[in-house]
């Protein structure tokens, strides 16, 4: 019971802290984006006269001071109202809600690919340190880290959609057949492209922490007990090696979400990343702020999950 209380107290503390982070992020974003040069896309058009600009600014309420607008925004946001998009007049929550599942699907798949492929790759490299396979996989990681996602994306499209014609080139679904198989087929290329933004990091972390773990005394003990090498790795080394990897993955979530901006544009994937790009280019102030709040909340939650996962993997870590 004491442990249960401890966990609850810990979670509450972290949640309160997380909420503060989110509010702080919203304030920073709101002020920065409002003070950035330019203005809402409808106002910053080439073919709009001074008179139209004035009418639009007034209609959007942007003639009032920024601090006053922020206080009003925060008041409404605390009641669950993130305001209305300046570009479409739709509620910000609706616009984000439409796109969030797509981004979570894409980012989640990319994360899954990175974990499922990255950890074995890292372990293999650690076990075959200095051998050919280690060098080859290192090279693959380095290339993966260096190649820009938009380039890789176009190459994947040209190879798999144009030349081989085995996978669809863009979108989440075909207009004609909207089945699970069709959706999965659409997911493959963008998920692979996005995975390359974090996969090399996962591989490297796994490799170095596995190498470190293999040098620990308990591994020598386990080996000398006569355990099979794979059992030693899987049961003893990996368990400890994964601790830094888990925390690295938590830290990679924001990078993954950043990567969606470009991936979603290349693959015409209707997610939050593309929405964020449109919102920033069009100076859709409420939408930019709303998106930042949502992404900040996701990042806070991810780090919370990592902290909890830590305690499961490593009993030495206490919640305090």
């Amino acid at each position: 019971m004491v442990v249960g209380q401890e966990v609850t107290r810990f979670l509450l503390q972290r949640l309160a802290l997380g909420a503060l982070v989110v509010v702080f992020a919203s304030a920073l974003t709101f002020f920065f984006v409002n003070l950035a040069p330019g203005g809402p896309a409808s106002v910053m058009r080439f073919d709009v006269t001074a008179e139209q600009r004035e009418a639009l600014i007034k209609a959007m309420g942007l003639d009032r001071p920024v601090p006053q607008r922020y206080v009003e925004w925060l008041g409404a946001a605390l009641h669950g109202d993130l305001g209305s998009s300046l570009l479409t007049n739709e509620p910000v929550a609706t616009r984000i809600g439409d796109r969030l599942p797509n981004t979570l699907t894409l980012a989640g798949s990319a994360l899954l690919i990175s974990i499922v492929a990255g950890i074995p790759m890292g372990v293999v490299q650690a076990l075959r340190r200095g051998r050919a396979i280690d060098h080859v996989l290192s090279l693959v990681s380095a290339v993966g880290l260096a190649v820009p996602v938009f380039w890789l994306g176009i190459v994947l499209i040209l190879v798999f959609a144009v030349s081989l014609n085995v996978l669809p080139s863009a979108g989440v679904t075909s207009a004609a057949s909207d089945t699970l198989a069709d959706r999965l087929a659409h997911l493959v290329l963008p998920a692979v492209a996005l995975a390359t933004t974090i996969l090399p990091t996962v591989v490297r972390f796994t490799r170095s922490s596995t190498i470190e773990a293999l040098h620990e005394d308990y591994i020598r003990t386990a080996t000398s007990k006569g355990l099979a090498p794979w059992t030693v790795v899987a049961r003893h080394a990996l368990r400890n090696a994964l601790i830094p990897v888990v925390s690295a993955i938590g830290a990679l979530v924001p990078r993954l979400l950043g990567g969606t901006v470009v991936t979603e544009a290349v693959f015409g994937w209707p997610g939050m990343g593309r929405l964020a790009l449109e919102a920033a280019q069009g100076r859709d102030y409420p939408l930019v702020t709303g998106l930042t709040v949502v992404v900040a909340a996701i990042a806070v939650c991810a780090s919370l999950v990592v902290d909890v996962a830590y305690t499961r993997i490593d009993p030495r870590v206490r919640l305090s």
Binding site: G38, L56, F150, A161, S163, S169, F267, G268, G271, R283
Partner: protein, 543 residues
């Protein structure tokens, strides 16, 4: 995020080269010539056409948020009083005929009878009056394109099939302007909130054209199906799908894989790759568009016409057309484009040959002296200024070429590259600039009053702020003359005068490159966005 986007777009040109090389290696075999798009045969019904757009459209022609990606669908589903004819002259759309009053201060339009909205409700003159009186002419709504109707006082319903536009001054180009993004919107749906009704703008709007919206899926696609209530002949196509594909290179890949039926090739660097693909046809189309270099007339150095003429001689415009447009364009020396064939004066095309020596002579005549370093100076100050570069389309390479050309004659240009939105604020809203390159696209009529009249200097579309009573007079004459021959004569004078005085430095008239499936027929020889007015005539040959 903006930095990321900037890098992304800047690199996309580079990417294309790489990917084209790669696709050439992996690509399928490439048969030579494809059949011409105008191949004969009787039209057949059926099939789906897919067209890419770069972002979610706003399905209301008057919304200030209806950007260029919205034009395709808005022109396909909403009908205007007129539409651009296949010769670009105004043609009947919702109106059957029109006349102007003897004093030129009103236009009367006879509307078609029996027209219905896509929801089955009858269309009438009340909808036209609503669109203008309650939307366009209401200053507080800030409707898109309202500046085009500055001369319109109000619209009066004469009878259910007749409307009259009452003007404060003569406006001969009104029928042409009404053909340009001026779709009539339904009073019975939008009277409560004409520009911000989300179920309309981002859902299923009520319209009068041959097609209507079937489904709007944010971030993905908008599909159109036949409007069963359409007054005209039944369109051939079963369905038209506009897919949202923001990336220009992905669009090209989709055309190559057959996922896209027709598209505008914005990235002309890919034209050879597309030409060599089987099943695709590449065509060039005229545009009512010209690129210009504006020299801010509040800067005393640019008010001397000799300086402006020197710059035009110094800029190798043919080289620009060749390198950034791959030859798809022609040299401009006036605002009237070759697409407006009835008015365009081709004799001006050779007025300013590329001639750096002549440019230097003209600068010398304007009182500039070459220093020992070859840079022109006056009162001990070098001829040096900054050109603001908006990040869009071909503007970045064009500015770099102009910078080189001016350097060759001894004028120093610094380039200040800016994200588009911030650029508009600095150069267009605040007019805080010395020189900048951009383009105008305008209704298919030579009435360029809004871009040149001195009343538009500083705050309207007169970007350089050039003011000249003689030019003002010509612009007003053009608006006042209602018969074609008189207008032709006036606009011929206007072309000659603007080519001499150079309110803007005219650069080139671009052409559009369209890529289409060889099975797609019936598309008129217009820019793709203008062709949307004729979507009912498109058809797909059976394979």
């Amino acid at each position: 995020m903006l930095g990321l986007a900037r890098t992304y777009f800047r690199l996309s040109a580079l990417v294309l080269v790489g990917t084209l090389v790669l696709s050439a290696c992996t690509g399928a075999s490439q048969p030579a010539a494809s059949p011409a798009p105008s191949a004969q045969g009787a039209p057949v019904a059926g099939g789906t056409v897919t067209i890419p757009i770069t972002a979610d459209p706003t399905l209301n022609p008057w919304s200030p948020n209806a950007f260029v990606e919205s034009l395709f669908i808005n022109r396909a589903i909403f009908e205007g009083i007129t539409k651009p004819g296949k010769d670009l002259a105004p043609a009947p759309d919702l109106a059957e005929s029109w006349t102007t009053a003897a004093d030129g201060l009103s236009w009367t339009f006879k509307l078609r009878s029996g027209v219905k909205w896509s929801d089955g409700k009858p269309f009438s003159a009340d909808d036209v009056a609503f669109t203008f009186n309650d939307v366009v002419l209401k200053p507080e709504l800030g409707a898109q394109n309202r500046a085009s109707y500055a001369a319109v006082k109000s619209v009066t319903v004469v009878d259910p099939n007749t409307v009259r536009f009452d003007l404060s001054r003569k406006f001969a180009a009104l029928p042409s302007f009404l053909a340009y993004n001026a779709g009539i919107i339904p009073k019975h749906v939008l009277s409560a909130d004409p520009l911000k009704t989300t179920s309309f703008n981002k859902g299923v709007p009520v319209s009068t054209g041959p097609f209507k919206v079937e489904k709007y899926t944010s971030g993905q696609s908008v599909s159109l199906v036949r409007n069963e209530n359409y007054f005209g002949p039944k369109p051939y196509l079963d369905k038209v799908v506009f897919t949202v594909v923001p990336d220009a290179n992905t669009q090209i890949a989709q055309a190559l894989s057959g996922d896209i039926t027709i598209m505008i090739l914005d990235n002309k660097a890919a034209v050879d790759r597309v030409k060599s693909a089987s099943g695709l046809v590449v065509v060039s189309r005229p545009l009512v568009q010209y690129y210009w270099l504006a020299l801010n007339q509040t800067d005393a150095r640019f008010t001397d016409v000799k300086v402006r003429q020197a710059f035009v001689h110094a800029i190798d415009r043919q080289a620009i057309i060749k390198s950034v447009e791959l030859g798809y364009g022609s040299i401009a020396n006036s605002p009237i484009t070759p697409a407006l064939a009835a008015y365009y004066d081709p004799s001006l095309a050779s007025k300013y040959p590329y001639d750096p020596q002549k440019a230097k002579d003209l600068l010398a005549q304007a009182g500039w002296k070459a220093g020992t370093d070859g840079v022109f100076q006056k009162d001990g100050k070098p001829f040096q200024f900054t050109m603001d570069v908006g990040q869009r389309g071909v503007l970045e390479p064009v500015n770099a070429l102009i910078q080189q050309d001016l350097k060759k004659i001894g004028v120093i240009v610094d380039l200040n590259t800016m994200e588009w939105n911030a650029y508009i604020q600095k150069d267009v809203v605040r007019r805080e600039y010395s020189a900048t390159v951009n383009w105008w696209t305008y209704p298919s009529d030579p009435d360029v009053f809004p871009y040149y009249h001195s009343s538009a200097a500083g705050k309207g579309f007169n970007i350089p702020g050039y003011q000249d009573p003689k030019l003002d007079d010509l612009l007003v004459q053009g608006q006042s003359a209602s018969d074609l021959e008189t207008r032709k004569a006036v606009y011929k004078q206007l072309q000659a005068y603007t080519s001499e005085t150079l309110p803007y430095l005219f650069l080139w008239y671009p052409q559009e490159i369209d890529v289409l499936s060889s099975s797609l027929k019936g598309v008129p020889e217009l820019g793709l966005r203008d062709s949307m007015h004729y979507l009912g005539e498109w058809w797909l040959a059976k394979k």
